[in-house]
Subunit: 207 residues, 2 copies
């Protein structure tokens, strides 16, 4: 099981999604869409073992959390616009503290970033924070460690274009969540998801 | 120098780009846009060492080639829609056999896929064809070989959702272009670009 949690600091929290302006008035909703595209799409399939959370902190009603479950998604296409249409539907619904399904495999709730992270810690997942200045990921997830740890499931936390706040980082540090680096360069969140999947695919499907 | 050549078998070849239907009527122009996003974008910069070619074979006037030069691009954003607007402009122009500039760093021409590949071979570049069933990339580009070969520049050829035709593959084989695999799974072209960049970044910026 592979899970990704994206803290989307400016992403819109109502159904007032302007499909012609995902970057601006929707608070970089385009990035959320590209993350979903990277999280789920293979050439001929959707990754059934993947779950993606985006936690939106933009106006008018932060936070709102969305959850995409790979094993349940139907009719999703990899382009930003069609993903944004599904997000718009989910954001238009009434939220409460429990996940409610908007369209197949897409859930919404009034949950915050920390709550979702804590839940993963409590479930005993391998939780990591992806950060430029972390430990090289291959020092922690590699052919020696993979088989021992994979059954607990993997959770990767990412920031958006702004990244996580100092308070968020302190929160993750206090939980002893390891920081892992994917690259010597600072990348976009969706590019990180492609790279993480590739590392895990090569470990999972080794001959 | 890193170059990518995407053969876009169905991508539109006129300025009649419907921004609301990049996947359908524009022949998977959304994929071309995501490839450009992956080819160039870093968190705080554009990759100045990268050039991206998409060679469009869709209606009404195939082929049309576009070239994006990282060191010259201005005002490009990573979202599909804004990239598609630049593509629309370039496709609307009159093409001839030589590259002409549409907007800063974006060129267009009536060139075909084979011509562009042959040019790279003639320039002595390290040309590779990315394919699921190729040799693992790390057997060919790694810490032992990288410094010897990098100054010749790298060129990676990718297919779109359909892939390359048997004839295209025979053409590349006859030129002795090596097939390299990035993953045990079949991915989308933009995901492949993220992975290639990551492999090269780790070799280029090793401490
Ligand atoms: C655009 S970057 C964030 C940059 C932001 N200015 C900051 O200072 O955090 C988006 C996210 O991608 C992830 N990321 C980017 N580069 C990374 C790298 N080299 N290794 C691991 N994660 C990375 C991090 O989770 C980051 O929050
Ligand atoms: C969606 S795939 C093409 C699938 C197409 N059905 C075919 O049979 O070729 C798009 C392109 O990404 C590249 N690609 C996909 N998976 C790859 C892998 N595992 N290793 C290397 N390149 C890959 C190839 O260049 C391919 O043409």
């Amino acid at each position: 099981m592979r899970e990704f949690i994206l803290k989307a600091n400016k992403a819109i929290t109502s159904g007032n999604v302007n499909l012609k302006d995902l970057p601006g008035s929707c608070g970089r909703l385009d990035l959320v869409c590209r993350c979903i595209s990277s999280a789920f799409f293979l050439s001929h399939d959707i990754r059934r073992d993947t779950v993606f959370y985006s936690v939106h902190y933009g106006e008018p009603n932060p936070p709102v959390a969305l959850k995409f479950v790979g094993s349940e998604l139907k009719r999703l296409s990899p382009d930003e616009r069609s993903i944004a249409i599904f997000i718009k539907k989910a954001l238009s619904k009434e939220h409460n503290s429990k996940w409610r399904e908007s369209t197949p495999g897409i859930y919404h709730a009034k949950k915050d970033f920390r709550e979702i992270v804590l839940e993963k810690i409590e479930k005993g997942r391998n939780v990591y924070f992806l950060h430029l200045r972390g430990k090289p990921i291959k020092d922690v997830i590699n052919s020696r460690t993979y088989n021992e740890i994979k059954d607990r499931g993997f959770v990767f936390i990412l920031g958006d274009h702004i990244g996580l706040t100092e308070e968020d980082e302190r929160f993750l540090n206090d939980l002893k969540i390891e920081k892992l680096s994917l690259s010597p360069l600072e990348l976009h969140a969706n590019q990180c998801i492609d790279i993480v999947h590739n590392i895990l695919d090569k470990l999972e499907y080794r001959r």
